[in-house]
Every structure is written in structure tokens, then in C-alpha cells.
């Protein structure tokens, strides 16, 4: 079920964004460079990479925690990076919410669940009266599969999976359009991961949400994402629809990442080795690279020379799948 890009409405547009940090003196460390992609309304867009790849930095740039040093970010067509009015700033906070990796660390352990979930409502006065607020909290709890009577409890009284649900309820109560989920299931047990993924999918359908799903595990992302961007050392190296990326991976880093994720299959696992990707092997004098479309909707970071190799690989993959 692939629609062409022009039919779909862009909700978030990341245009040639750089994020750099000062590292003493005049030195700057570029954590993200030249990130350039659109996210369409209603899709789940995954950003996948190892730690230090800049995936979280980019997510935080969207929600204005990290300032962009170059480029701009548009939300519903309006620029939300750089200097914007206070009204717009509140608008961003209201409409873009975050779900964090560690549900224990992201909840105030001395506050009741009721307060944790209401916090956004308080900040934005999004309730008529106290009754209305409580009704909203109850609804949010119900949406994530918890009970209204849970709201007088404290975070430590919940299991990891339940706490992550509270984290989700906290984001959902703001009725956002866009959610950045930063490794939302990495800290959870296998059996609970499935519950949280199902919940995220259910809420997405019910509330027509758009997700930016940040993860390091490609195999999980395959299930939840519509499109996947692979990021390596601050550069996005490949973007494709999720099935395409698994079927036709062309960038060597993507392949190395795919090969590193252990699959739950002993026959396969015992017979394959992971492929190591060594960026240092890159020739510093190589022609500059940019994102190029290799298949419809499938982009890869390459120069002319790379393209020859990538196209050859793609051809092989296509003939393999044609069999």
C-alpha cells in the first residue's frame, strides 16, 4: 500500500539541519549534519542508529531542546526552529510531545500519577474546572489501559510496562499531533514490549497521530515504522519505506546494522557473522555525497562513484527477489 509522496500532507519538514555543540574554545562538534527529510501526517517515521549517531539530538532539535545551527524545521508549514514568538513556542510544546526511554526517570517520583499526567494541563490551562481535569486524566489512563483508581498511586508502585503507559498517557493528554518516541521500549521486558507497541499503534489509529520513532534496533522498527531513516555519525545514510529497506538495503552501513541485529533463529544466527562497517576506510578525497533517489521513495547518501556500486547491488537484490 504505497502512495506517492505528493499526495500526502507533510506534517514535519526537516530541511538541511545541522546541530553542533561547543566543545571548548572555537571547536564545534557537529552531532547532526545536513539532515533533510519530510514526515507525512499519520505515518510512523523511524530514525535508527547506534548511540552517538545523533538520532536523539535530531529528535530534540525538533522539539526545540537543541537549537539548529543551520537549516530549518517546519511544522505544519511553519518554521519552528530558531527564533520564534512565544505563542508559537507554546504551540510547539503543546502539539509535539515526547515519550522517553526510561519511564522511571521521566516521572516525578514524589508526585502522584494524577499530578504527573495533569502537569501539561496545568501548564496550558487546558481544563474548565477540576472535575474536567480529573475526567481528562481518567480518560487518558483508560486509553493506555490503566484504571482510574491508579491515579492516586506513585510511580514506584507500578511495573516498568505500566510506568511506560503513564509516560504515554502524559503525552497523549495534550492531544498532540506529533509524538517523538525516543527508544520507548528499549528498557522494557520482551513480553511488555509487545503491549507498548500495540498500544502505540492503537492510539495512532484512533487519534490520527504521527510518530517519530527513535530506536537502535532495526528488527523492532520493521514492525512499527512506515518509513525508516538510518543515521550514522550524524549523517542520514539511507531512507526508505520499511519493507524496502529490509529488502533492498544498499548502503554498507545499513547492511552492517541489519547484520548486527540477532534474529531469534538459531540456524541462521549460528551461520552468519555480522558485517563490520568501517567509516575510516572512506577516502577523504572522494567527491561530495548527497541524498540520491535510487528507487522511488528510497534515498541513499552517495556520490557518483558510490551510485555505481549501489545500483549494482540493487540490481542483484532485485533479481534475487524476482525469483
Amino acid at each position: 500500500m504505497s502512495t506517492t509522496n505528493n499526495e500526502r500532507e507533510v506534517i514535519l519538514s526537516v530541511r538541511h539541519v545541522d546541530v553542533a555543540f561547543d566543545v571548548g574554545g572555537k571547536k564545534k562538534f557537529k552531532a547532526v549534519s545536513d539532515a533533510n527529510f519530510d514526515i507525512y501526517r499519520g505515518e510512523t517515521f523511524a530514525l535508527v542508529g547506534e548511540s552517538g549517531s545523533g538520532k536523539t539530538t535530531l529528535g530534540r532539535a525538533v522539539i526545540r531542546i537543541n537549537p539548529c545551527t543551520a537549516g530549518e524545521i517546519l511544522f505544519n508549514g511553519e518554521r519552528i526552529s530558531g527564533k520564534i514568538s512565544k505563542q508559537q513556542d507554546r504551540n510547539v510544546i503543546r502539539n509535539i510531545q515526547m515519550i522517553f526511554q526510561d519511564p522511571a526517570a521521566s516521572l516525578n517520583e514524589r508526585a502522584t500519577i494524577e499530578y504527573c499526567i495533569s502537569e501539561g494541563l496545568y501548564n496550558f490551562h487546558l481544563y474548565k474546572d477540576n472535575e474536567d481535569r480529573i475526567a481528562k486524566v481518567d480518560k487518558a489512563l483508560e486509553d493506555v489501559g490503566l484504571l482510574p483508581e491508579h491515579k492516586s498511586r506513585y510511580p514506584h508502585e507500578f511495573s516498568g510496562g505500566q510506568r511506560q503507559r503513564v509516560g504515554i498517557a502524559r503525552a497523549m493528554i495534550m492531544e498532540p499531533q506529533f509524538i517523538i518516541a525516543d527508544e520507548p521500549i528499549s528498557a522494557l521486558d520482551v513480553s511488555i514490549r509487545a503491549q507498548v507497541l500495540n498500544l502505540m499503534n492503537k492510539l495512532k489509529k484512533e487519534k490520527n497521530l504521527t510518530y517519530l520513532f527513535i530506536a537502535h534496533d532495526l528488527s523492532v522498527v520493521r514492525f512499527i515504522a512506515d518509513r525508516i531513516a538510518v543515521i550514522h555519525l550524524g549523517k542520514i545514510v539511507e531512507i526508505a519505506e520499511s519493507e524496502d529497506l529490509f529488502k533492498y538495503p544498499v548502503h554498507p552501513y545499513t547492511i552492517s546494522l541489519l547484520s548486527a541485529v540477532p534474529m531469534p533463529d538459531p540456524i541462521i544466527e549460528k551461520n552468519r557473522d555480522s558485517i563490520v562497517y568501517n567509516k575510516e576506510e572512506d577516502d577523504p578525497n572522494a567527491a561530495p555525497r548527497e541524498m540520491r533517489e535510487i528507487r522511488p521513495g528510497h534515498f541513499v547518501y552517495a556520490n557518483d562513484e558510490d551510485m555505481v556500486a549501489f545500483e549494482k547491488r540493487l540490481e542483484k537484490l532485485e533479481s534475487y527477489h524476482a525469483e
Binding site: 511495573s159 521486558d189 499503534n201 533463529d265 563490520v276
Partner: protein, 374 residues
């Protein structure tokens, strides 16, 4: 393969913790035979008791915990009789009988070593890497400082630290997460243990680094011939490393067998549930299977099959009587009434039928994601 030697044999081990005037039974009569040179993986959710169980092998239970029943015989390598030159079976030591720290000397660290999840907490942040390795070597071997240093540097290069001699005097913070875990492995292996317990050794690491660490442990195992116990909740990692697998739930091993037995022919409903909830097997647009409810409280006495309350297809007897282990094949055992001849025929869930076929469809033949050989 010749007759397999048992290096460690746990029988009916029960562990209780005293928590606020109450007793919590963390391990309920677990038995396990560990064969020389194998990799045995223990999988289970958090709280299933997988770490507690293996901590009994090194006497590292928290101070409020006690082994209240059973025996853990450690045989170790067979010795050579000095007069006849024949291989003599080691009579073995019952680890349960060791109480004082002094008793454990010569076993903990020396014969049975552990690699923990978080390398930052197992290393001392204010001492150099080198001194921390040397410390262990000097403790267990009577050799000079210079020799110990040489051994340490040798061990460092063996676990893949480039320029080991130069990095000897560096501190843990100067190492990356993966490098730190390599150091922890180097420390654990520096006294040539016979059993290496890896407690979630890669959970805190990136996938690419995880692949490297797993490979490192595997290579070293081949080279040094130790036996590995691998504790993890990641079934992908299990598939990669394990010769045999034990599935733990509610303080018991509920099913064990070779990796192939467990992945392709699981028998226990809990193993079914665990495999079915893998996101890798998910079909887009459909809900993933998940296990309802919560694990049993270990404060109460568990009646019947501990998984029954969460198992929608539980039999009546599951709530009444605890199932014994049924033998499925020479290597495969499962603790479920479903294997009783009187039980109704119940097929494993559709999702995990032809697991190998499904995964292969995803990854291509051999799981290579169709990478060119060039």
C-alpha cells in the same frame, strides 16, 4: 561427540529472601546439569530468578538471601593422577556448603567468574584499567608484579584492546562502553576460570558493539575452553550464542533443551508466549501477541503451574497440581501438563509455526540480507 562431562550440577536448589518479616521464594527447586565447554543460556523476564539462580554458583546472593534446599556440585576440570597419569574424576565440592568468604576463595573469580551487565559499575572509576586487571591476577596467582603486568597486557590485547600497553594506565572513563565491557571480560578471564557467567553482558550496549562482544566471548571460549552460562532476555542473543537453553518463569526452569528444540519445537505455553510476542514476527497492521497479567508473586505459595493464571488455554489441573518434567526427546524437557498422555492435543500458536521459514523470508537465505560476497 564423546560422552559429555558435567562440570556443575545443581539439584533442587531453593533460594529464599527475607523481606520485611516475610519470606520470598525466589528459586523453587531448580535442577541443572552443565556440560563442559557448552554455552547454556537462561532466558526469562525480569524477576524470573535467572540472575539469583546463577548467583548461588558464586555465593553472591544479597545478604538477606539464603539457599534453603538442594546442592550445587562443582566438579571442574578432571585432574591427572600424578602416579598413573590417568584422568581422574574430580570428587567435586558442594557450593551450598561454602559459607564464609574464605571458603569461596579459589572458586569465586578463580574457577567461576562473572561478567555483569553494566561495565561502569563493575569497574572502579578512580583506578587505572591496568591496576584493576593486575589486582585480580596477583590475587589468584603467585607471580611477580612485572609478570602480572605482562599477563594483564596480554589479556587486554586478547580481548581486542588496540595498543594495550599504552592504554594500561588509562582510567575507565577514557574507554567507550564496548571497550569497558572488554576489560570486564579480560578481568573475568584473567584467572582462567572454568565457568564464565555472563549476566546480560550486552544489554547496555549498542547492537553493533553487542555483536562484537558476543563474538569475542565465543572466540575466547573456543580458545580457552571454558563453559559459559549466558543470562539474557533477548531471544535473538540466545539464538546466536546458545547450545542449550533454559526458560525460566516464576523462579523455576519450565523448559530446557537445545537451542533448536526451544526455538523450533517449544512445548511449554510460556515459551510459546515468549516467542509469539517477538516484534520480529509481527505483521504490520495487526496486533502483536502479548502476555496478559503479571508474573506471580513469590511471597505466596504457588499452587499448580505458575504460568496458568496468564495462560488463556490453561488446563484445569494446571491450577491444582504442579506439573513434573516430561521428556520430549533425549535433550528436551518441559514442565507442562500438556505433555501428559491424558492432556488434550494443543498446537503451538500459529505465529511461531515454521519460525525458521518466517525469519528466513525476512533475512534471505542464511540470514545475510542478501549481501554480495564480492
Amino acid at each position: 561427540m564423546a560422552e559429555k562431562r558435567i562440570v556443575l550440577s545443581a539439584k533442587d536448589v531453593e533460594v529464599k529472601f527475607r523481606v520485611r518479616q516475610n519470606y520470598l521464594t525466589a528459586i523453587r527447586n531448580v535442577s541443572l546439569d552443565l556440560y563442559e565447554g557448552e554455552t547454556f543460556a537462561i532466558v526469562g523476564e525480569s524477576g524470573s530468578g535467572k540472575s539469583v539462580f546463577t548467583k548461588t554458583f558464586t555465593g553472591m546472593l544479597e545478604s538477606n538471601g539464603r539457599i534453603t534446599n538442594g546442592s550445587i556440585m562443582f566438579y571442574g576440570r578432571s585432574a591427572t593422577d600424578p602416579t598413573t597419569g590417568e584422568q581422574v574424576e574430580n570428587p567435586g565440592i558442594d557450593l551450598v556448603k561454602l559459607v564464609k568468604d574464605k571458603d569461596w576463595e579459589g572458586i569465586r573469580g578463580a574457577k567461576i567468574a562473572t561478567v555483569f551487565q553494566d561495565p561502569m559499575t563493575s569497574l572502579n572509576p578512580i583506578r587505572t584499567i591496568g591496576s584493576q586487571i593486575v589486582e585480580v591476577i596477583e590475587k589468584h596467582q603467585k607471580i611477580s608484579k612485572q609478570e602480572a603486568k605482562e599477563q594483564a597486557i596480554n589479556m587486554m590485547s586478547r580481548v581486542g584492546i588496540p595498543n594495550a600497553a599504552d592504554r594500561f594506565d588509562e582510567y575507565p572513563f577514557q574507554y567507550s562502553g564496548g571497550m569497558r565491557q572488554r576489560i570486564v571480560i579480560a578481568i573475568a578471564l584473567s584467572c582462567h576460570p572454568e565457568i564464565l557467567i555472563c549476566d546480560e553482558p550486552t544489554t547496555a550496549l549498542d547492537v553493533t558493539i553487542q555483536a562484537q562482544i558476543i563474538k569475542l566471548i565465543k572466540d575466547l571460549q573456543k580458545e580457552l575452553g571454558f563453559t559459559t552460562i549466558y543470562i539474557t532476555h533477548d531471544l535473538g542473543v540466545v539464538a546466536k550464542v546458545a547450545d542449550r537453553v533454559g526458560v525460566m518463569y516464576g523462579g523455576q526452569i519450565v523448559e530446557y533443551g537445545t537451542a533448536e528444540d526451544i526455538f523450533y519445537d517449544p512445548k511449554h505455553p510460556y515459551t510459546w508466549a515468549l516467542l509469539s510476542s517477538l516484534p520480529q514476527l509481527g505483521v504490520k497492521g495487526e496486533d502483536l501477541y502479548y502476555i496478559t497479567g503479571t508474573p506471580p508473586s513469590l511471597f505466596n505459595k504457588i499452587v499448580g503451574d505458575s504460568f496458568a493464571p496468564r495462560n488463556p488455554k490453561a488446563l484445569q489441573i494446571d491450577f491444582v497440581k504442579e506439573p513434573p518434567f516430561f521428556q520430549v526427546s533425549e535433550t528436551h524437557f518441559a514442565k507442562t501438563w500438556l505433555l501428559d498422555p491424558r492432556a488434550p492435543e494443543l498446537e503451538k500458536p500459529e505465529v511461531i509455526h515454521d519460525l525458521h521459514g518466517k525469519i528466513e523470508q525476512m533475512t534471505g537465505k542464511g540470514g545475510a540480507f542478501y549481501v554480495d560476497d564480492e
